[in-house]
Symmetry: C2
Subunit: 559 residues, 2 copies
């Protein structure tokens, strides 16, 4: 406790975590597959987390636990595509999961807290997306106390079964015990997904001890309860029923995902198709994605033959890993230049394959969903993204979406500068708001999005035409281009990082709202605010004093 108190006064820099793992290396989760049913069992190693001096009691988690969960969901899709229902449960007897570890949170820096919450939110939304689009239904088998982030994990599943043993509850004790909000979409899912009556939701979320048994079912907090003697049987039956009702989608045969193993130095992270250059002095990074060099598969069968080695899967996984490293390891690099390079025809061919005749084939669908997730990860990354379109660049196929996702695009007015949207940009890679990025860009006039697509169907779009079509924020000839970009980069790097984060979050999601945009736009913002209020993280704040004998002392002014 003394050690923790010391840490809370002076938050330690988060250790550099790796986002790569595989089931053979899991410390906290077990993934077991039997026919159409998978079982994901959480048994957190108390001193096996990111920081081996923080005890992860009661199946509470830290980032390292969530990285394994995210990996397991990814592998269900790619390696075990015949699974139709996955049971998420605990390897402990009396506890399902206690949520994020409070001592870890209290000891973390503000940027780490926010990034941690964002990552765990992405993992839960990924789980829901696997249910909706990959046909894998999830059942939370809450075999004991299900608290905070533990209940939020259950909320992300399609069904929740709670053991009825007279003591096990579901609860969101964040407000009453910690003075913060549930950080992984709990509030939103309680009223928006499970549609719990809002006054009962209010009562529930201020009740530290939670709700159990019949009342939990009546309030809509869980789908069913079962006594311990019948729990396993009930869970199995419900999992089988979920599997039987799972969407009929193409499945398999399944591939292994190999390790990415980038070469990492102080100023550079080098993958096979992706390079992240780190410029600490300018507080800027350059993220370059290269088009495939070899032959592009023309069918699902050809793609399957390449398995995880294929560019479509590999480049997306590399981009994802680069974004995560940027978020967690390079907090002060606020601006990212998005560059692309390579053979535009090949990148376009990848897009044609992913959105073409074989688009419903398993490997094609999963590759596309992977790109969808990676691009959505970029959309909620709190960095400015400027796309740079010049002679070398290759904004075609899936890489065209990098341009569409950017906060701004700088297009060089010169011969040989070309870009090309393909079928993927017609709505096959929707953002969090459910629209394609072109629809989001041209919210005032959907015909303009269609005009871009039509132009891409005809062939590569040259710089002048791209500008006419509304794809350039700044369009400049080679006399001005580098200077315009240099000034813009310097200017961006000089602005308040907080104000930019708020502004970008507001501008990236115009138009319709979804549960995801609510979670990221609303809950994340409230949580960010509450996390830095003295009432939570001040010396006498509730989060700081958790587990200590003192009671928190609040500034009572309501805002």
């Amino acid at each position: 406790m003394r050690y923790l108190a010391a840490r809370m006064d002076k938050p330690a820099a988060p250790p550099k975590v790796s986002f790569e793992t595989d089931p053979g290396r899991y410390r906290h989760w077990t993934l077991a597959v039997e026919g159409e049913i998978a079982r994901l069992t959480m048994k957190v190693q108390p001193f096996g987390g990111q920081d081996d001096e923080v005890e992860l009691k009661s199946n509470s988690y830290d980032l390292s636990v969530d990285i394994e969960l995210a990996d397991a969901i990814q592998r269900l899709r790619f390696t075990h595509p015949h699974v139709k229902a996955a049971v998420v449960t605990s390897g402990h007897d009396r506890i399902f999961c206690a949520g994020a570890n409070i001592y870890m949170l209290a000891a973390s820096t503000h940027p780490f807290k926010v990034n941690f919450c964002k990552y765990t939110n992405e993992t839960r939304l990924t789980l829901e997306e696997a249910s909706a689009q990959s046909g894998i239904r999830f059942l939370a088998a809450c075999n004991g106390a299900t608290a905070g982030g533990g209940y939020e994990l259950a909320l992300a599943c399609d069904e929740i079964v709670l053991v009825d043993d007279g003591s096990s509850t579901v609860s969101l004790p964040e407000v009453p015990l910690l003075g913060v909000l549930p950080g992984t979409g709990g509030l939103t899912r309680v009223v928006d997904k499970r549609k719990v009556r809002r006054d009962l939701a209010d009562a529930f979320s201020t009740l530290a001890e939670g709700v159990k048994g019949k009342r939990a079912v009546e309030w809509g907090l869980v789908d069913a309860v079962a006594p311990r003697s019948k729990f396993a049987e009930t869970v199995l039956q419900r999992a089988q029923a979920l599997a039987a009702r799972a969407p009929q989608v193409a499945r398999g045969p399944g591939i292994e995902l190999d390790a990415l193993e980038p070469r990492v130095s102080d100023d550079r992270i080098e993958y096979r198709h992706v390079t992240l250059e780190l410029d600490q002095a300018s507080r800027m990074a350059i993220l370059t994605v290269r088009a495939p060099a070899g032959e592009v598969p023309r069918s699902a069968a050809e793609a399957l033959a390449r398995a995880a080695d294929g560019w479509g899967i590999r480049a997306a996984r590399e981009l994802d890993d680069a974004l995560l490293r940027l978020r967690f390891h390079h907090e002060a690099l606020g601006l990212v230049l998005l560059r692309t390079a390579g053979d535009r025809a090949k990148a376009h061919a990848v897009g044609e394959m992913l959105g073409g005749k074989d688009k419903d084939a398993w490997i094609v669908r999963e590759t596309r969903l992977l790109w969808q997730r990676v691009l959505r990860r970029l959309d909620v990354t709190a960095r400015s993204f400027f796309a740079v379109v010049d002679e070398k660049s290759c904004f075609a196929g899936p890489l065209f979406e990098l341009l569409a996702a950017a906060d701004r695009s700088y297009v060089l007015d010169a011969d040989g500068v070309e870009l090309r949207p393909g079928p993927l940009s017609e709505g096959l890679l929707p953002g969090w708001n459910g629209l394609s990025r072109l629809e989001t860009r041209f919210l005032s006039d959907p015909a303009r999005a269609k005009a871009v697509i039509a132009a891409g169907r005809e062939g590569p779009i040259d710089a002048a035409r791209a500008n006419q079509l509304g794809l350039a924020t700044v369009f400049a000839d080679d006399i001005d281009f580098e200077e315009e970009l240099r000034v813009a980069v310097e200017e961006r790097a000089s602005l308040s990082p907080d104000a930019l984060t708020g502004m970008e979050a507001s501008y990236r999601f115009p138009g319709p709202e979804t549960m995801a945009t609510k979670i990221f736009g609303r809950l994340s913002a409230w949580q960010n605010w509450i996390f830095i209020r003295p009432n939570a993280t001040g010396e006498t704040g509730a989060l700081s004093l958790y587990g200590k004998p003192e009671r928190p002392r609040f500034d009572w002014r309501r805002t």
Copy 2:
């Protein structure tokens, strides 16, 4: 400057402002009506604001300026209902409006900042509601520099005309100059209402000097520009065109709104129909609304005869004023018990009249819209609301909505306890999310909202039936009732005020999102966060250093 610096170190308590005014007392605005066109002219008195030591230069505003604007919009509806278009302009030559006064903001406490932004947001949404529902179109005649909150005021209008004089721009300089966000819905309205391309919106909002002339039109930031020589003529023509296209709704004859003049003491604010009791020790308030005592009008003509003296208008205005006083003058009172009293049949009769055969008549519609606004004000008030339903209470007619708006309802299980929803609760008083409060409550099953309405049609609903219908969060007999309530009040008063604000804001708006819920739920939260980040309000933050020679120094970590 020395004085301001001293103030910023130790924020002064905001002076107790009155929310009542009338055109004869305006210091900053002039309301002139000529036929169907009104002209609202802003000429802020430099030392005429809330704090007479803060100079409100360049038509920058403080709360006192916005109170006059809100009053003027209210009087357009009630006193000048024949107005079909209102021109919002400035009484200065070269400046339209510079937005909220930065020194006032920088010198304000965090709770005041947040409450100030909330109030100004409500005023702008009210302006949009007057356009949509009262048939008064608004034209922003930007006759000079239109910056920050000035541009946000213009964005709330139906059309924006900017003078084309080679220098006047529209701008949102908050991000580049102040390190905060535009606080009155600017970001949301730029991309969601005006549907500006998001990359151009990004460029615009980081450009301190703004955008002028033809480019402002091309980017969609304004609807038209006109040279100074033709500005007045262009504005008049466009206002006339707006008036000609204004919705055909019942109008007039118009009534005067008298002053409310409550009796205010330390522990009590007493209006004719509303009492607000202030319990500083328990950090709680009791807000009681009494049903009409006299005869209830049965028609629009009878309502018109009573004018502003009628209960429907008077009680709503009193409730509104009480909520504002609570927000600004009693920041530490975190919990409000909503009580009602009086003749249920009469309150129900008011509801039947407001939602009955004369519902499209002018005075009936405006009275209903007034209740809609007041209830929406309650929905975004950062206090916990518990409705208390006992033998004395009168949750009927418009007062039933107080129950539906509450975070919880405590219903006494006893004879003589009755409540009654009427036609107003069938969707005539929608919340910010566009749904009726009963639809929001029963999001999981719209049939349950209909069942409540059906029961109300049959007659008063007794306590047991109300509980069955899902209207009671807690239902207890007289042995337990007071104790349950006492414990709940104590418990609520002990919780983190910040966490409660975030939780309530999340639970009050499940279901569909609207521009208003985006503004309140998303932008308000981001702004709250940014306002207390050291990068804005710390010693070297951009807001703190505004107007000083030093450059802000930022913590560059992006979150």
